[in-house]
Subunit: 138 residues, 2 copies
């Protein structure tokens, strides 16, 4: 049993969505349709998920700054869309069998889909989601 | 002047690359060639970058946990590859003009490329990178 090698949404938990979206529009990015003051997204293609020692990554990306403490949620989620709905349950089971921890769900979500969250062994948060209108993931 | 609407690498700063890569292999993912105990990556296609209020995201992804303090590096970077090398400088200038902050570089990196880091207005870390062997971004 495997999980599709897929990452469909990187969500930044924003302190201010209106201010932060202005930045991404200011660099010339085009928002998807249907976005508002509490949610916005920008379609992007082609991605690698990489792992690298946090000390080395910090030396480049955050010199002279502490790393967020292990076990603290870092304000981001990685979403993996699947379909149909049953595939959410299956993927979560695979993640737990591989050593992940269930964080919440799976359950119906207010945005109209069905999803559950797990964390990898270092606390990185993944959402396995079925959005009924995203049929390309079946 | 705009930055290509692109996100090419999500890098998780790992406390232990060997242990964490085991998890991703255990869910059935295939590593790229040339990976070792200090770096690994998994190619993924199709992505949206989303913004959502951190309190709402946390209610789903980290119930009953505090959010990492604003201004603290969260242990992740978002990389955007460009080419040729001059495009790194141009993209960084665009980011700064849009309200981003320069974190480091641009400069030669030990992995063989040229890159610089900026943070968006909420501290999310982006690397603009030119890897000479990734000519598809020209």
């Amino acid at each position: 049993m495997t999980i599709p090698q897929r990452l469909t949404i990187v969500t930044i938990g924003a302190r201010s969505v209106p201010k932060l979206r202005e930045f991404y529009r200011a660099i010339g990015w085009t928002e998807n349709e249907g976005c508002d003051e509490t949610f916005t997204s920008f379609t992007i293609a082609t991605l690698r998920l990489a792992l690298y020692p946090v000390e080395r990554l910090g030396a480049e990306a955050a010199p002279n700054e502490p790393v967020v403490a292990a076990g603290t949620w870092n304000g981001m989620t990685l979403t993996l869309n699947v379909a149909p709905r049953d595939a959410v349950d299956t993927a979560l089971k695979t993640a737990l069998a591989a050593g992940g921890s269930l964080i919440g769900g799976p359950r119906e979500r207010e945005w109209g889909g069905y999803s559950g969250y797990f964390s990898d062994p270092e606390g990185n948060r993944w959402e396995i989601a079925c959005a009924p209108w995203l049929t390309e993931f079946e």
